[in-house]
Amino acid sequence: MSRISFRLALTGLTAALSLALIQPAAQAAEAGPKPPQLTWSFSGPFGKFDRAQLQRGFKVYKEVCASCHGASLVAFRNLSQPGGPEFTQGQVAALAATYQIKDGPNDAGEMFDRPGRPADRFPSPFANEQAARAAQGGAYPPDFSVLAKARTYTRGFPTFIFDIFTQYQEQGPDYIHALLTGYEDPPAGVTLLPGQNYNRYMPGHLIAMPKPLADGQVEYPKGPDGKSPVPETVDQYSRDVTAFMMWMAEPHLEARKRIGLQVMLFLVIFAGLLYYTKKKVWSRMPDGSPAH
């Protein structure tokens, strides 16, 4: 590209962007502040889930969230598979048996309840969406199975381009954590109707879910000193349950990143070999003349 045409292109691009960038400021105000970017153990090319965190997150999910939010795509057996919370198979079988699963029809043509097995998926708290809405004053608590991948926020230009290189892709977890910790009193001038709550990070700020977590609400396993190794606070609960949700949404994340590294290493070496092979082939033209 010649210098003139490059400058022309640059001018054009600048003009286009300045024209287009007038808007986002107004939008951001409407959508609320951007969630803070947290450090997650599973981010980056070598990311792995923290087993203890996933196990704590599962406890929070089970004791707090599961009364309204299903996880219908996740099976009990998943809790013991590699790359997840890695509960033992015995723990999973015992856990599954504490749930009643609808099965049938039996020989009499009737549906019946039986204790859960590891192969069963988590039973949903409501029979269907309508039942959920009826019980929740019209709001539908979304299923958690892939929720961590279904939530995001706008990164904007040029951040989204940098994200390709930094591999930042935790918009979902960051948003969920921000939402869980973002409950506050409505600012002056905002009146809440019954069934509405104010949240800093919810688009539009009005959310049907009441503040779900409180400090000390979930008891974490004790360390050798008789105290939980992590604080039992809303912030920590939110981090843990969010990590667990990310694992539910992407249960093969660890395998993906591990295999990815192997593939990358191989491809780089293979490309290097091919480059020198190509140079060698092109070093002599078929008519015997040396290549330029």
Binding site: A75, R77, Q81, R117, P118, A119, F266, L267, I269, F270, L273, L274, Y276, T277, K280, V281, R284, M285, P286, D287, G288
Partner: protein, 182 residues
């Protein structure tokens, strides 16, 4: 042109660089085949659903049989009569195509219950003889209508094209009338 091609294909192709590149390419293609093939194997859900199942045999009266499914395959459970047990035990094992004693095919102390896979060992049809009124073949067992295989009251092949006895699935008694298959 001809002689130039000779030097480039004759001597250089055999050198280390070419070999290494070719080998790396072969490794890459080989690695690519792994996911393409292993996706054909049963997936995690299918494997998990193939876990052992518990069956209560109490409702099966003497002389009756039921069909149930484990891992998508039919399993016959027959509560055999005295006569059927006698017949199965009286056979000279040496004359059988697939020699097995009746004791090898049942659990000691529970000889009245025969638990076998329900697919003909010829080409997989389901033999008749489980439901009342169905033909039990020439040997008081099962008869496969597809190609005419006869099984005896121990599920052993006696006549027809099937090569093997109806196999016994892995199972164990859990009390007198409860079994766990798998």
């Amino acid at each position: 042109m001809a002689h130039a091609t000779d030097t480039s294909t004759g001597t250089t192709r055999r050198d280390f660089l070419m070999l290494a590149t070719g080998a790396a390419g072969a490794v890459g293609v080989g690695a690519l085949v792994i996911p393409l093939i292993s996706q054909l194997a049963p997936d995690a859900q299918t494997v998990a659903a193939g876990a052992p199942v518990d069956v209560d045999l109490t409702p099966i009266a003497e002389g009756q049989a039921i069909k149930l499914f484990w891992r998508g395959k039919p399993i016959f459970v027959r509560h055999r009569t005295k006569k059927e047990i006698e017949e199965a035990k009286a056979v000279d094992v040496a004359t059988l195509r697939d020699p097995q004693t009746d004791a090898q095919r049942t659990k000691a102390g529970h000889e009245q219950f025969l638990v076998i896979f329900g697919n003909c060992t010829h080409l997989g049809c389901i033999p008749l003889g489980t439901a009342p009124g169905e033909s039990k073949g020439d040997y008081d067992g099962w008869f496969c209508p597809c190609h005419g295989s006869h099984y005896d009251s121990s599920g052993r092949i006696r006549k027809g094209p099937a090569p093997l006895n109806l196999p016994v699935p892995p199972y164990a008694f859990n009390g007198d009338t409860k079994i766990r298959i798998g």
